[in-house]
């Protein structure tokens, strides 16, 4: 058996995509397990078919609040001033960081560390956007809960209402951070 140089490229290219792409996306898609011996970055690309699988009865709407030096009341910031980019749907990169990039159910070290660094970044950004304003001392992430109800269908596209419009029992604090 002999292979010419011209034959090698299509064969190797095809094998490459079979081994690194087709078989892994099939395996990962069927089992929800990643193939352990691939590096994490390669495994990241091999996960493609896991969207919209479960019913969602409550959609959280995240808000950023800051407590300025000497103030007693939390101030809700306009998310678009800090995270204008929409990533997937109407979600912002803040939403991704709070709900998907970190584990919302487990308040583990990494989740808290990520939220703390976002809080520090927001405090810094607040000072840039509001020169001369009182410094931010605390940042907290809060959420209003939107419950699915056939008797209250949505009026239009996804658009979180002002945080203050949520009844207290439909809000919760994700985390609070000292940024002094």
């Amino acid at each position: 058996m002999s292979l010419s140089k011209n034959d090698a490229k299509p064969i190797l290219s095809c094998l490459f995509f079979l081994v690194f792409w087709i078989v892994p996306i099939l395996y990962t898609g069927l089992t929800q397990r990643k193939i352990a011996f691939f590096p994490r970055t390669i495994r990241y690309f091999q996960s493609v078919g896991n969207l919209f699988t479960h019913r969602v009865d409550v959609w959280p709407m995240p808000y950023i609040q800051v407590l300025l030096a000497g103030e007693e009341n939390w101030k809700t910031l306009l998310e678009k001033d800090y995270f204008p980019m929409e990533t997937f749907g109407y979600r912002t990169r803040l939403f991704e960081a709070l709900y998907y990039a970190t584990n919302i159910l487990d308040y583990d070290r990494k989740t808290q560390a990520t939220r703390a660094e976002i809080a520090r970044w927001i405090a810094k950004r607040y000072a840039q956007l509001n020169p001369g304003a009182l410094p931010v001392q605390f940042v907290r992430f809060v959420a209003g809960l939107h419950f699915m109800d056939p008797r209250e269908p949505p009026a239009g596209h996804w658009q979180p209402p002002p945080y203050e419009s949520f009844p207290e029992e439909k809000t919760y604090i994700l985390s609070s951070h000292d940024v002094r």
Partner: protein
Amino acid sequence: MMFVKRSFDSSRPYVGTHLGFPGASFLQFWFGPVDGIRLSAFRMAMATAVFLYVLYRWVCAEEWLTEAGYHVSEANLPYHDLVVPLVPSAFLLWFGVLLLGGLAAVIVGWQLRWTTWLAWACLLYVTLADQLSSFVTNKLAVVALLVVALAPHNKVPHSVWPVRVLQITLIVSYFTAGWNKAVWGEWLKDPYVLWSQLQGTYRTDLAAWMIRTLPLGVWPVLQYAALAFELLAPLHLGIKSLRVVGLLWGLSFQLLIAATMHQLIYFSLVMLSFYVLFVDEKLLHRIYNLFTKGRGARIHVTP
């Protein structure tokens, strides 16, 4: 037994395809000759979809790709460990020229030998640089452009492997998406998963109107139709005689996603790019000639 020692052009056979042994049909499936129009059409469609996707995001390029926006620190990277430096603000415009210019060159077929690699490298970079905004659309586009970059760029018949890899990618993507919904998810247990998903962060005005207007009983029908489409993809896209049904079903599926889920028009465009790989070659030639008003070079159709 030996593999054929010949180059890939229209007058010569391909890897092993001239051989009469039992594995020849397998080699024919992967390496037999195919008309170049399918891959060319795919290249144009995919690059156009990615161009529009990137152009939309470019409005927020500073937040997306520079220090001006929040980026997860190295210690807390959520999805993969590769640390990719951000674009210095002073070079953002030039990077945009490279990224969008590279994609534009791929669309029109200019200097494909290196512009495809340029577009692929830029897209890979933005996918890795910001983990908070990279999704399945990015992953599919990165792999698709890599296939195109490694494939032959001439329009004469070429080895069919790039077309096969991409066709199977679409079928596996649909099937595993359906499998996840049916086996690991709740689509068979709860008839209102789609209804609940459409009310979330994706919800467009049209989706809200549908939720307000359509009777609740319609939603299970839509849900099971979508699930059936995904699970049956290996049949309706894999069997040639069923492809018209599969493509029309898929077209309506993707258009509904695009219309009811904000920004998923780009995901739908990327998915629809794969559809041209299943379209009849003669039809693709007719469309090509329509656009070039017959001035375009005649692309050889493999008998």
